[in-house]
Symmetry: C2
DNA sequence: TTAAGCATGTAATCAGTTACATGATTCG
DNA sequence: CGAATCATGTAACTGATTACATGCTTAA
């Protein structure tokens, strides 16, 4: 079910706070929702065009010194489309975790290989935890009065808890592994 | 990177323990790796055929009473293919979490809607935690001597820790939400 | 008899990534 | 001057789901 793309809503959501170009949007996705979402140009630009055709966005050329950019702004219809999507309960995503898949079949690999799998995972989880801690500090310091801030912090909080849980798990798993 | 399908390896991995039909494999995926992986018939059957063409699997017809089934067994080449995949470090998956996406844009929805989002999430996380606890009991009771058991339990352990972290987060988030 | 489960498969469709193409501007 | 960054896009490909098609067997 729900094989509908969510790309339109990511773009509408970000543009609901601030007008931006496609290029800016790509960067904004990475900066703001990057720890739980991603978008590629190949989806982004065609979606922007489609949303404008549907009246959810309007664009204006902007050329000040640098290369001409196309800045998109959300329309009332766009806000309605966003609100409509927010009102629907998200379908649970089909899970896909390749690390766990390899671990599950770990019996068929040399033990030291599985050990390394977990060690590499642990390193990634630690990097992720540090990154989220950094982002949280930034949000707390740099946007003390943004009304969206609570929601941003809540998503970061889950990210941190999940990263911490993965770190604790990887450490425990390494202790339980043979050799 | 790594847009290669992992379907072949899921099938090889399951068949490395026990020969099965495509129908059985679909059920086995749900039963064993279902909490972090999924496969559809549309991927499964063509992949089985391809793997047999490549010499990684062999099939035999089996008709005992019920409808004829095609049972697949892994070959030495298949085991090598599996080992080869296990030896490679998995690429980190691009994250996609629709619940967090909706929460991130929660400022643009009525507060009670965001509250419900979290309540529904909490309910799902609790169901998931209970399901994993049940699976763990089953594995501990029913397969006390399977050599793969440690690896199965490790994947379940992460699932439980993540579910618990999500539950704690959702409760805390509900307390921080306005209204 | 009829519904549920066993069993295998294909066609249509789509979402999404990657690689490629192009060119301006800015900074070291 | 060259590299990095700004900026916008398209084409090719493929992974994957969903819906559909078919028909047998078994138990209520």
């Amino acid at each position: 079910m729900s094989r509908r793309s969510r790309t339109p809503y990511v773009l509408l959501g970000l543009l609901a706070t601030e007008s931006m170009s496609g290029y800016d949007l790509k960067a904004a996705v990475g900066r703001t929702v990057g720890h739980f979402w991603s978008e590629s140009y190949g989806q982004l630009y065609p979606t922007l065009r489609r949303l404008e055709e549907e009246g959810a966005l309007v664009s204006r050329q902007e050329d000040g010194g640098r290369r001409a950019r196309v800045v998109y702004s959300i329309t009332p219809q766009g806000r309605e489309m966003l609100a409509n999507w927010l009102d629907r309960t998200p379908a649970p995503a089909l899970p896909r975790n390749e690390l766990l898949l390899k671990l599950f079949f770990g019996f068929f690999a040399p033990p030291e290989r599985t050990r390394r799998l977990l060690e590499e995972g642990l390193a990634r989880f630690q990097t992720e935890a540090a990154r989220l801690a950094h982002i949280e500090r930034e949000v707390r310091e740099q946007t003390p009065d943004a009304p969206e801030r609570l929601y941003w912090l809540l998503t970061i909080d889950l990210g941190r808890r999940l990263a911490d849980a993965k770190i604790a798990w990887a450490r425990a798993a390494l202790r339980r592994l043979p050799e």
